[in-house]
Amino acid sequence: MSTGTPPPHPVPSTILPLEKAVDVLDQLPGGGLILTKIEYMLNWGRAASLWPLTFGLACCAIEMMAAFAGRFDLDRIGVIPRATPRQADLMIVAGRCSIKMAPIVRRLWEQMPEPKYVLSMGSCATCGGPFYYDNYSILKGIDQVVPVDVYVPGCPPRPEALIEGILKLQDKIKVEPFLRRPIAAKA
């Protein structure tokens, strides 16, 4: 014979009926209902909070620092530098990458959680740049090691160019089939 407690009193639903919800939403600034796809909303949020890894290789890293500093202020488009790959979702490869450094770049990329993006900043990271000819130590393009989403040309690119590259990446993220993509890693 069971002496268990009686089933709890059913909790009343906190979801407002539609006519009352409209009343509440009308009080919001601008008012009105927002109807959108979940995927679009998620992408909008992801694009507006790209957290790059603070990972400087060479000269371009100085321009990247300048882009984070007062005049250009990347914080205002939601780009906040992170010191560990575990918290980052964007890797800005800023500068030339030597063959000794290439496995480490690859490992850092592997340590970043999905979804992740790579921005190749400057000519050296894109194709070897001025170190293309007569050179035995520099990797001819970071895309031999990690998949690159956006290339920013320049030697070094101005901070404005880096910002343009990040805006391009945001455009790319906004139209991504985020919920419909295969789970497996890209590369």
Partner: protein
């Protein structure tokens, strides 16, 4: 029963927010104390010395900007071109030497500002970074107006400079020089009297004078250890013999002394720029030099005072339009190995403070 203890090997870098580039430090720890530290370099080796052997003397100017110390592009150009001009007997017109002096000192200020800002971040004072980069952007604006580039200028050429100053440039430069001491005062207010900053820097990472000489340290690191040596005074080049400036020398040899030396150097650089603009003569900015300049057979060594220290370039020519061999004596390289002596015996948390105070650029170390 005694507790079994053993030394711990800690691997720091090459990706670490405080190593200022791609330096790897292998630290041997006994508890919290540093027993030994071994820098592992070569993660940014660009084989730039080899590349220079396949490029003409003019093309190499662009390579010195990028392949060597990227924070002080003009100082690299100066070191390389001094060697070229010395070997080739190329005359530099007086206006060009004064222009070079102005640019080199602006470069020194901008390099020290990057050092101060990043060191501030390392020590937990993030505000300083924003202040330093505010002033640095103004210097970069001046560079951009005069040379066309923010970071890599390719402004110095064999026998002079590329272009004359645009209209109104000297006024803007003087305006900056008038304001800049008040900005240094702002950094002083933020850091110099700050008890947290003092606790982390005063008496930390002492480099004794004799060790500094043994390890070949130069620049602000050596001057903070009581070595009154500055190439600008000892072997004056360009217009440094004709301007008045003091070389700050401190004897403590700790992180704080290195900080104070660099702060004073920025004030002195401002003084040099003001005098140079006042004395700036009119006339030619570049002597007639062929684009594919051929140097006579021979070898030479030129030394300059880059913001990081004694930058030497050894140049061998076989009479061709390309150098036979270029060897760069990088100041960061010697200063990096003086670091081992500074760090022994300190706590693991001091690694960041000491490393930042030496101000190394890995591009300069590895080349």
């Amino acid at each position: 029963m005694a507790l079994r203890t053993e030394e711990l090997l800690l691997n720091m870098g090459p990706q670490h927010p405080s190593t200022h580039g791609v330096l790897r430090l292998v630290v041997t720890l006994d508890g919290e104390n540093i027993v030994d530290i071994q820098p592992d370099i070569g993660y940014l080796h660009s084989s730039v010395e080899k590349m220079m052997e396949y490029r003409t003397y003019l093309q190499n100017v662009a390579l010195t900007d990028r392949g060597m110390d990227y924070l002080t592009a003009l100082a690299n150009e100066e070191g390389y071109l001094l060697a070229v001009e010395k070997l080739g007997g190329i005359e530099v017109p007086p206006r060009a030497t004064w222009l070079r002096t102005i640019m080199l000192e602006f470069q020194r200020i901008s390099s020290h500002l990057v050092w101060l800002g990043t060191w501030g971040i390392d020590l937990g004072a993030t505000t300083v970074f924003l202040y330093c980069f505010r002033e640095r952007e103004r210097i970069l604006d001046l560079f951009e107006q005069a040379t066309g580039g923010r970071l890599h200028h390719v402004y110095f050429r064999p026998g002079g400079v590329y272009e004359d100053l645009p209209a109104g440039w000297t006024d803007r430069a003087l305006e900056f020089c008038d304001e800049f001491p008040s900005h240094i005062q702002e950094y002083d207010d933020l850091l110099t009297g700050n008890p947290i900053f003092l606790a982390r820097t005063q008496g930390v990472g002492i480099l004794p004078r004799d060790v500094a000489i043994d390890m070949g340290a130069s620049g602000p690191v050596a001057r903070a250890s009581g070595i009154p040596f500055d190439v600008r005074k000892a072997f004056p080049y360009e217009a440094y013999g004709q301007v008045e400036f003091d070389v700050p020398v401190l004897t403590d040899g700790d992180c704080y002394a290195r900080y104070m030396v660099r702060m004073e150097e920025m004030r002195q650089s401002t003084r040099i720029i003001q005098q140079a603009i006042e004395h700036l003569p009119a006339g030619e900015i570049r002597s007639k030099v062929q684009v594919t300049v051929k140097l006579p057979r021979g070898e030479t060594y030129a030394r300059t005072e880059s913001p990081r220290g004694d930058l030497g370039v050894y140049l061998v020519s076989t009479g061709d339009d390309m150098p036979y061999r270029v060897k760069i004596r990088a100041p960061s390289f010697s200063n990096l190995f003086a670091l081992i002596e500074m760090m022994r015996g300190w706590k693991v948390a001091d690694v960041i403070a000491i490393l930042g105070s030496v101000d190394i650029v890995l591009s300069d170390v590895d080349r």
